[in-house]
């Protein structure tokens, strides 16, 4: 028996050590640097206490990136979930060429986010304005990504185009777990389709709704690839996400320690939001 126990430790200890070395240790290092003034390449640096944290709360660029990231994450989460639930309902109905359409709607999920972003970047600049001009709208005939008030909408469009794929498949899987006799019973009772959706379909999907909301929100808060491909954070800093700010400031701006402090705050924000979401949505699951 002792031999068996040794084997179980042998199976896990290498993984534990590697995980600590490449995940936990860097996280601790990041927290350590957040209390210094290291620029990322100098030989020496000083301990500065909470100065970075104090400065971050007064930094307009940081505030902007949080506002943009939250606005973006909330809107994409809502749009992705509403649209993918609708598509899943459609794909679950009795339609022609069901497997073909399922394949089409899932397709964006296998594509590189960065390359999709580059493709849409071109479409926003050169293709959509042609349609806008045909419609005779001055607003629609410009490149939306070049407008600091509206560029974020362009990023939302790309994220939703790609993000609905995976959530649709999860909702579709959820719909297929709902027993058929529930619908037959409601048919006999003469329930309307609308009533059927709110009383049977939606409650039965509760756990899928939770997981999809959390996944989409987390993806939205971490947005990076789309920003690089579509706007680079511009025009100005109007679409600079938190992740993009940490990357550009930390690696190119000589703000390694300062952005480490930003990352620590960002981490706390993500944990709190994920925990709140799980708590709130799971409570809803229980109530149903």
């Amino acid at each position: 028996m002792a031999k068996r126990r040794v084997a179980f430790y042998l199976m896990t200890i290498p993984a534990l050590l590697l995980f600590f070395a490449f995940h936990t240790f860097p996280a601790i290092q990041g927290i350590y640097y957040s209390f210094t003034n290291w620029d990322g390449f100098s030989d020496s640096f000083d301990y500065v206490g909470f100065k970075n944290f104090v400065n971050i709360f007064q930094d307009e660029n940081v505030l902007n990136s949080y506002l943009f990231t939250f606005k973006y994450a909330i809107i994409t989460t809502i749009l992705i979930n509403v649209i993918s639930l609708l598509i899943a309902l459609g794909l679950n109905a009795k339609i022609k060429a069901k497997n073909f359409f399922r394949g089409v709607y899932f397709l964006p999920n296998i594509l590189s986010v960065l390359i999709v972003g580059f493709i849409f970047n071109y479409l926003f600049a050169n293709v959509f304005p042609i349609w806008g001009a045909k419609l005779g709208s001055e607003f629609l005939s410009q490149n939306i990504l070049g407008n600091s008030d509206w560029a974020w909408i362009g990023i939302v469009i790309v994220a939703v185009w790609q993000g609905i794929a995976y959530n649709t498949i999860l909702y579709l899987a959820g719909l297929q777990t709902i027993p058929h006799d529930l619908y037959e019973a409601s048919n006999l009772d003469g329930a309307s389709r609308w009533r059927e959706f709110w009383s049977i379909t939606f409650p039965m999907l509760a756990s899928f709704f939770t997981i999809n909301m959390v996944l989409a929100m987390k993806g939205g808060l971490m947005v990076f690839d789309q920003i690089v491909a579509l706007t680079g954070g511009g025009p100005g800093r109007s679409t600079q996400s938190i992740a993009h700010l940490i990357y550009t400031g930390g690696f190119q701006g000589g703000e390694f320690a300062y952005q480490s402090a930003n990352a620590v705050i960002y981490f706390i924000v993500i944990v709190v939001i994920s925990a709140l979401q799980l708590k709130f949505l799971q409570k809803r699951e229980m109530d149903l």
Binding site: R4, M11, F22, P26, G90, P108, S112, W161, I169, A263
Partner: protein, 272 residues
């Protein structure tokens, strides 16, 4: 059960929606096959002649086959090692959940799911550079190790639903713990391994951030190459789109042939 006939209004709506999904891909293919004169006439039309020189130019400009090789090596090695090692870690944890060490380990790994990569991004570059791991081998190790957070969670849940009896019989026959895992448990994990394999394959193949911060010129992956060569593409859209299409094609081909398998692999894993 009432037999319903085809729901045409929904079919039409779904078909219209799918056009929105397919349109950017149509544009990608059309632009990749045109030359600037054809573009000037109409952006939307089908290409008249097929300008395959766009592709040969893109292959040269981006050193495509080098990047394809790097992406392939990184993705395949990562997936293989994830399936072999992460499942084994999860097995040890799942069978010892009553012991404190393994229980703590379980929560230690899965809590990392909530830590966004950007938090550790800056120090990871420092650690990997110090260890001379800013190369293909290093990035594979990082992918496999970071995979633990999610994969241990999924594998452990699945392994706990497998009854002990099978292993006990093997132990009576004198099999070692490792032997029991490889011969009995690992084959039983095939469905969940399929799900994890597909997810890790997609996320590794399409990852941009880790290659961006770790890899040097010789080890560029396909997404990274598109980013690095943006400057050259800015004037020649046909070249750019040929390059995008080349980079998307390997996964599109895999998807074309394994689509049914990929989707059902992902859905069965999500219901579990």
């Amino acid at each position: 059960m009432i037999k319903k006939s085809t729901n045409w209004p929904v079919t039409i709506l779904i078909a219209l929606g799918s056009l929105l999904i397919l349109f950017p891909l149509y544009m990608t293919i059309a632009i990749a096959l045109k030359n600037p004169e054809e573009m000037a006439q109409s952006i939307f039309s089908l290409p008249t002649g097929l300008h395959f020189e766009n592709f040969s130019n893109a292959i040269k400009a981006t050193n495509f086959f080098n990047a394809l090789g790097n992406s392939t090596v990184i993705t395949i090695t990562t997936v293989v090692f994830i399936l072999l090692t992460n499942s084994m870690v999860a097995y040890a944890i799942a069978r010892n959940m009553k012991r404190r060490f393994f229980k703590v380990l379980y929560f230690y790994f899965i809590s990392a799911m909530f830590i966004p990569f950007q938090i550790i991004m800056l120090p990871v570059v420092k650690v990997t550079t110090d260890l001379h791991m800013n190369n293909i081998v290093g990035i594979i190790i990082l992918y496999v190790v970071y995979g633990l957070a999610f994969n241990v969670f999924v594998y452990t849940g699945y392994i706990r639903s497998i009854p002990y009896e099978l292993e006990e019989a093997a132990t009576v026959d004198g099999a070692s713990t490792f032997g029991t895992f490889w011969k009995i448990i690992f084959p039983l994990l095939a469905p969940v391994s399929a799900t994890i394999g597909i997810l890790s394959c997609l996320s590794t193949w399409n990852d941009f951030m880790l290659p961006l911060i770790l890899l040097g010129e010789d080890s560029y992956t396909l997404p990274l190459v598109q980013y690095v060569f943006q400057g050259q593409f800015s004037t020649d859209f046909n070249l750019a789109f040929a390059s995008y299409l080349l980079a998307l094609t390997p996964m599109l081909i895999v998807y074309l042939f394994a689509q049914k398998w990929i989707i059902s692999g992902l859905t069965s894993g999500s219901i579990k």
